[in-house]
């Protein structure tokens, strides 16, 4: 079970109910639960959308798209039913924040889904969890059942004539790519998780061909808090154009790894050294992957930057999913780059050639390089391959593979050259034992 952590610099909005037993509906109600959605019913869709816009909340799934604006794009009138889709596929390496939300405050996700539904005029929402999260699915399903039993879901919710809302929970079965919004819709329609060509965008043609709002689970769980505290009050917690707080998962070489809620714009240096307690054994920092595996790496002298979408973009990287992975001086970037690209090669859906072939060649080249069979041209080839994947794929997974690779090569080129010359770190992290290699080959 995840250990809950805490630090005085935290500003608790979304994590306010963590550790308080809020997965029980009575407790959730006691802690102001299901008030926001009732307020939303009273005040109407325009008020909800305006409040969300004023909050400056930007999507917590990775791209940081303004949530209020996304909700306002959905056409008011539609022949086909509209839907809300909650993305709980959480598979970006380094990211485990939604895990804690589902575990500690599942009703906030449910209430947020209802609020999004009210805002866009949908009567049905789906909460999709990755297949590995079965114990969390059980928790969410129990919470949904409780909400039905109270009359908060179903027909005439909260006793309001003509206000209906249903929620269906759904499990995935193992696939990173299904976290991409259109691939998620394909999966929910019982198909392979291959993305769709855009446009049309989901807000116009989404799930079952109906207008659909898709949001990350953390984005959605913020909605009830924002309605209760007011958009401006939430916005003020963060920085300009980056409203509020967000959950940061700090992992890797830190003394106190964990999921912390920090204001947007909080210093990355302080997140590592103050909040997460610094690096074990007094070792020096080598690098930080600041927002999940797909974000370009920052070097040790680049961490005086604020954790918001705009400042990270300015620093040449991304805030991404909020998963901060910390590497101490003992890590070999060659090893780290290899493990990163192995992931993307495994997860490429194979639809487009630059991604399918590009990730495969990057993996092959880096595997050989790592094994000691590299040559000078490899370093340029890796860069050339990655550069040619950028922007040439159907979905952003191709970029997600290329961007970190380019970061490693550009910022740590010297390390690749030293590796070529025979330099090795003292304790390599990747260990390969040949047990079962024949079985491996058969699969």
């Amino acid at each position: 079970m995840p250990t809950l952590v805490s630090h005085p610099d935290e500003v608790k909005v979304i994590s306010r109910r963590f550790g308080m037993g809020a997965k029980d509906i009575e407790k959730y109600i006691e802690l102001d639960g299901y008030k926001a959605v009732q307020q939303g019913i009273e005040q109407g869709p325009a008020w909800i959308v305006d409040t969300m816009k004023a909050s400056g909340l930007r999507g917590r799934g990775g791209a940081g798209f303004p949530t209020g604006m996304k909700w306002s794009f959905v056409p008011k009138v539609s022949e086909k039913p509209k839907y809300v889709l909650v993305n709980g596929d959480e598979s970006e390496p380094g990211t485990c924040k939604d895990h804690v939300i589902f575990l500690e405050d599942p009703h906030a996700v449910i209430e947020g889904t209802m609020i999004a539904g009210l805002a866009i005029g949908a009567k049905m929402g789906f909460i999709y969890l990755r297949g590995e999260y079965r114990y969390l699915l059980n928790i969410v399903e129990k919470a949904v059942a409780e909400a039905y039993a109270k009359g908060f879901l179903g027909k005439n919710i909260f006793g309001k004539e003509g206000v209906d809302f249903d929620i269906i929970t759904q499990t995935g079965a193992g696939a990173y790519e299904v976290g991409e919004e259109s691939a998620l819709m394909e999966s929910l329609e019982g198909k392979r998780g291959v993305p769709r060509i855009k446009p049309p965008f989901p807000a116009v043609v989404g799930l079952y061909g109906g207008p659909t709002v898709i949001n990350n689970a953390e984005t959605i769980a913020n909605a009830p808090h924002i309605l209760l505290m007011g958009g401006e009050a939430y916005a003020k917690l963060g920085t300009e154009r980056n409203g509020g707080t967000r959950l940061f998962g700090i992992s890797g070489h830190v003394n106190k790894p964990g999921v912390y809620e920090l204001p947007m714009g909080y210093s990355l240096r302080d997140a590592i050294y103050k909040v997460a307690g610094g690096i074990p054994g007094g070792k020096a920092l080598k690098a930080v992957v600041p927002g999940g595996a797909s974000c370009p790496v920052l070097k040790a002298d680049e961490i005086d930057v604020g954790l918001d979408f705009d400042q990270m973009a300015k620093a040449g990287t991304m805030l991404g999913s909020g998963g901060i992975v910390v590497l101490d001086e003992t890590v070999s970037i060659v090893e780290f780059a290899l493990r990163t690209i192995r992931f993307y090669q495994h997860e490429s859906c194979g639809w487009c050639i630059p991604c399918r072939e590009g990730t495969d060649w990057l993996k092959k080249t880096l595997t050989r390089f790592h094994a000691g069979g590299g040559n000078k041209k490899d370093i340029d080839n890796i860069q050339y391959l990655a550069e040619n994947m950028m922007g040439r794929t159907f979905c952003p997974l191709g970029d997600a593979a290329a961007m970190p690779t380019l970061g490693f090569i550009k910022k740590f080129r010297g390390e690749f050259e030293e590796y070529l010359a025979g330099a090795r770190v003292e304790n390599p992290l990747i260990q390969i034992t040949t047990i079962g290699e024949t079985e491996l080959a058969a699969h």
Binding site: P93, Y133, Y135, G174, G323, C349, T433
Partner: protein, 182 residues
């Protein structure tokens, strides 16, 4: 009336599947969950599972197989009773994920996707399982084990071998209390 005569599933699962096929705007939406829940019961997605799900959802077996081959958790051969899935992705790697995988290989005498001779354990190297802040992390079937070391891993394996593992039964209430049949 049951949707399928002579179902290969237990009556409880068959009844859940009957319902699952009715709750979505489109029946086919039940396919991915059904494949996983069927695997939970049968141990893998057998030819019989494919055939029955195709009938249940009015699909071709080919459609079912196409979807089946996409998702990494679904398998067409049995795994061990306890499927040990070791994450070696970045956060776990930094905190000993590979060491843990190697330890399991030696301990169990099997490699990636191998099954022990007694069928008790199987081993898999997996991608990030969403437990990065509690790394290194392992999933045994659906149970998470976190902040592991080789010694702690031995204790976890010993517990399962003695039938004392967590192994919470994966009992989805399927589609939750969701809308009644349309």
């Amino acid at each position: 009336m049951a949707a399928v005569a002579n179902s290969i599933f237990t009556p409880a699962t068959a009844a859940r599947f009957d319902k699952l096929a009715t709750i979505y705007p489109l029946k086919r939406s039940a396919l991915v969950p059904m494949l996983l829940y069927a695997q939970d019961e049968v141990g893998y997605v057998s030819d019989e599972v494919v055939a029955e799900l195709a009938v249940r959802l009015d699909l071709l077996e080919l459609d079912v197989r196409g979807v089946l081959s996409y998702y990494s958790m679904l398998r067409t051969v049995p795994a061990g009773k306890y499927n040990v899935q070791v994450c070696t992705n970045i956060s776990c790697m930094l905190r000993g994920g590979f060491e843990l995988l190697d330890h399991c290989k030696h301990k169990l005498g099997i490699g990636h996707k191998g099954v022990t001779a007694d069928g008790l354990f199987s081993l898999e190297e997996v991608e990030c399982i969403g437990a990065c802040c509690w790394a290194p992390a392992v999933q045994v079937n659906y149970d998470f084990h976190e902040n592991l070391t080789p010694a702690k891993m031995d204790a976890v394996l010993a517990d399962y071998a003695a039938g004392k593992g967590k192994n919470e039964p994966p009992s989805p209430s399927i589609g939750s209390a969701a809308p009644e049949a349309k």
